[in-house]
């Protein structure tokens, strides 16, 4: 009897490891096309970009192509233009993400706790999400146009201080456009985190006499920390790569609104200087990695929730 059970046990274990192996194989085969596709569309171009960045390669002088090592990088990193562009990008990123966090949280709270009208609110905030970024950017640009924008007619904005004619004003409009467009996404990310905070904790705290604000800061926020960090990570990386809004609102990055992506575009596409432009591209890529590492290692952001492991 024992022997029989033992053999049965072995047989069962044998089947399990067989199944595990075939499951693994199947899983990898199913994932392979997607994985390969992602590797190809990013891995190869980035590798090629790195290769190009080591050359002096200008499409207007195609015969002058030559290997110059890291000279392009030296040139970029010693130019004041690159650093001021990094500063502009950083300013836009930090300010817009901060505003989005606050606004997004407010909207998430409205959606979570509204006693009526959740439907219309949900529908309304999806409009910025669904709209094409370029379309919204045009709307904002025309709204602040010195000649024809409706913002010009408002009492707060004087005739001579048209925002789009100076750097500060332009940056404000760009940040406004960026915040408007992506706060809904932030709100939804935060809403998901909000939903995880158990109501019982709030009830218990209410019974203990805690006010709404106290409950928010002592219960909700700490429990939402992982969700907030993830939302911040996504949005910061997104904001750092800003392109569409700047391109439309101040074409070419004029008036000191040039961000690093616009700089890359100007060098790569306008000046068709592929060598220099590729160096800029790689540097931007490194910046993005740095930001991601900062969030993950220093702030402890974990995408485990997203990956379904929590």
């Amino acid at each position: 009897m024992e022997a029989a059970t033992a053999t049965q046990g072995t047989r069962r274990t044998g089947k399990k490891s067989d199944r595990a192996r075939s499951e693994r194989k199947l899983a990898w085969m199913l994932c392979a096309p997607a994985v390969i596709a992602m590797l190809i569309v990013t891995g190869y171009p980035i590798g090629y970009a790195f290769y190009l960045s080591l050359q002096k390669f200008d499409l207007r002088f195609p015969d002058d192509k030559e290997f110059v090592g890291f000279q392009n990088y030296a040139d970029v990193l010693t130019s004041s233009t690159w650093w001021s562009d990094v500063a502009v990008t950083a300013i836009i990123t930090v300010i817009s993400v901060s505003i989005e966090l606050v606004l997004g949280m407010a909207i998430a709270l409205v959606m979570h706790r509204a006693i009526f009208g959740r439907g219309p609110v949900r529908a309304a905030i999806l409009v910025p999400y669904g709209i094409v970024t370029v379309v919204a950017a045009f709307a904002w640009r025309y709204a602040f146009d010195p000649a024809s924008g409706f913002m010009q007619g408002l009492p707060l904005i004087s005739d001579t201080a048209a925002p789009l004619t100076n750097q500060t004003g332009s940056l404000i409009v760009i940040i406004l456009a960026e915040v408007w467009k992506t706060t809904p996404f932030m709100a939804l990310l935060l809403l998901a985190g909000l939903a995880l905070v158990p109501d019982e904790l709030h009830e218990a705290a209410k019974v203990d006499g805690a006010k709404a604000w106290q409950r928010f800061t002592r219960i909700t926020l700490p429990l939402m920390r992982p969700a907030i960090l993830v939302a911040l990570l996504f949005r910061t990386l997104d904001a750092f790569r800003i392109f569409d809004n700047v391109f439309i609102i101040q074409p070419g990055g004029a008036l000191g609104t040039e961000t690093v992506s616009i700089l890359g575009y100007n060098v790569l596409i306008n000046r068709v200087n592929l060598g220099l432009g590729s160096a800029i591209s790689i540097l931007i890529f490194l910046c993005v990695i740095l930001i991601a590492m900062f969030f993950v290692k220093v702030l402890g952001t974990s995408t485990a929730q997203q990956r379904g492991e929590v």
């Binding site: 075939s22 199947l26 085969m29 199913l30 096309p33 002096k56 200008d58 499409l59 207007r60 002088f61 195609p62 040139d75 970029v76 130019s79 233009t81 690159w82 010195p146 000649a147 005739d159 001579t160 048209a162 789009l164 004619t165 100076n166 074409p251 070419g252 004029a254 008036l255 700089l263 100007n266 060098v267 596409i269 306008n270 000046r271 068709v272 200087n273 220099l276």
Partner: protein, 420 residues
């Protein structure tokens, strides 16, 4: 489970492969114009008066089937036009035959070997009877690279009934003082774009200076400081129109038409546009030559225009040369003046009735174009222009003392293909 999922997998993979095969076939090859042995594709900005359309139509009729020109219209913005054309030429696209080149593209395209030189008979056709200004814009390294078609320059426009008569030799300083006193604005194009380079170039050239020689040597000197002084003076005076730092040609026109400024520096297109405002308004407009930077030196007005270049990647260059010569004929230049407000490049055309009728200021126009100063003729022009734009913007934030060294440094870096 295994069988079912394998079934799905195969099905889905098959669908994906089929899909890819389909779209590999469709959408490949981006030809917009015609194709075939007789198709000539003409890429140029959309001339709204219809004169380019007319030229194309006439030439197609004359060609009698030997070739057929298709007019492919590019966007309004000069920067965007260049972007699109450069991208296709860099991609060695054979779809372009004739390019309506902005005058500033010649050196860049020639050095990059994207256009064919005009030699022998063609060279003669390209330069005979042409005004000096346009002729300079097609010459590079002792060769001719395009056929001047239409030209353009800027005049000083003013309201006779408001500010009286303005002499042809007025200086910028006097002009700004007069306007500030009234007070009224002087409409200029000082946004951070090519129009600013146009302005700065003329300010410098009128003082006898140069920015870059044809050989590529940087020749920035005190004339750059002078230009910055004038621009800064205007930008900080009462004569600066609102939004000056973002105004382009159209905003300037609108400012003049809305009477917030009684002076305007702009291209002649504003004259027919004024008619739409009212005959009285149009009649009240006076014109003078582009203002002087220095009182004792005649001004060098800006020079714009379109030259016809032949793409190196054209499959039918001989036909393209022929078609281009037909399009830029004297008759078509006269039509361009009449319908499009575009001044001719051939001197004789200024005497024709059409042009004299279209422009009461025809003689001033011819003189301005003849004595105009082209922008720097160098392959790195677009970089240098960007460097100039960056240095001279915004007009009310300039420090003229440091301009000369800043500009020199930026242009040198731009010329070397570095970041500036």
């Amino acid at each position: 489970m295994r069988r079912g999922s394998r079934g799905i997998r195969t099905g889905l993979t098959a669908a994906a492969v089929a899909g890819l095969a389909v779209l590999a076939g469709c959408g490949v090859g981006g030809g917009e114009g015609g194709s075939g042995r007789t198709a000539i594709n003409f890429y140029a900005f959309n001339e709204p008066g219809g004169s380019y359309d007319k030229a194309v139509e006439n030439c197609n009729k004359e060609a009698n089937g030997r070739y057929r020109i298709s007019y492919v219209k590019l966007p309004t913005d000069a920067n965007q036009q260049r972007e699109l054309v450069v991208r296709r030429l860099a991609a060695e696209d054979d779809d372009i035959d004739i390019i309506g080149m902005d005058v500033i593209w010649t050196a860049e395209f020639a050095a990059a070997e994207w256009i064919l030189p005009w030699e022998g008979e063609d060279e003669q056709a390209a330069t005979e009877g042409k005004l000096a200004g346009p002729r300079k814009t097609v010459e590079f390294e002792d060769k001719v690279w395009g056929l001047p078609f239409t030209s353009n320059t800027q005049l000083l426009w003013y309201r006779k009934n408001e500010v009286g008569n303005v002499p042809d030799n007025i200086t910028w300083d006097k002009l700004i003082d007069d306007a500030a006193q009234k007070p009224t604005g002087i409409e200029v194009q000082a946004a951070q774009y090519e129009g600013l380079t146009v302005l700065v170039n003329s300010l410098i050239a009128s003082a006898g200076g140069q920015i870059v020689t044809e050989a590529g040597d940087v020749k920035v000197d005190a004339t750059a400081t002078r230009a910055a002084e004038i621009l800064s003076k205007l930008g900080t005076s009462k004569a600066a129109p609102p939004g000056m730092a973002t105004n382009k040609e159209d905003e300037a026109r609108i400012g003049f038409e809305e009477e917030r400024s009684f002076y305007e520096i702009n291209y002649p297109f504003i004259y027919p546009s004024a008619e739409a405002v009212g005959k009285e308004f149009q009649d009240s407009i006076g014109w003078a030559r582009y203002p002087r930077t220095e009182a004792d030196q005649p001004s060098k007005p800006p020079l714009g225009g379109i030259n016809l270049g032949i793409s190196k990647y054209s499959e039918t260059p001989d036909l393209a040369f022929e078609a281009a010569k037909c399009m830029a004929s004297e008759e078509h230049q006269a039509i361009a003046a009449e319908l499009g407000g575009l001044p001719p490049t051939t001197e004789a055309v200024y005497e024709t009735k059409k042009v004299q009728d279209a422009y009461p200021f025809a003689d001033l126009l011819r003189e301005s174009i003849d004595e105009a100063a082209p922008r720097p003729v160098t392959p790195a022009y677009s970089d240098i222009s960007l460097a100039i734009q960056k240095t001279f913007h915004p007009p009310d934030g300039l420090s003229p003392g440091s301009i000369e060294s800043k500009l020199k440094d930026r242009i040198e870096r731009a010329g070397e293909g570095k970041i500036y």
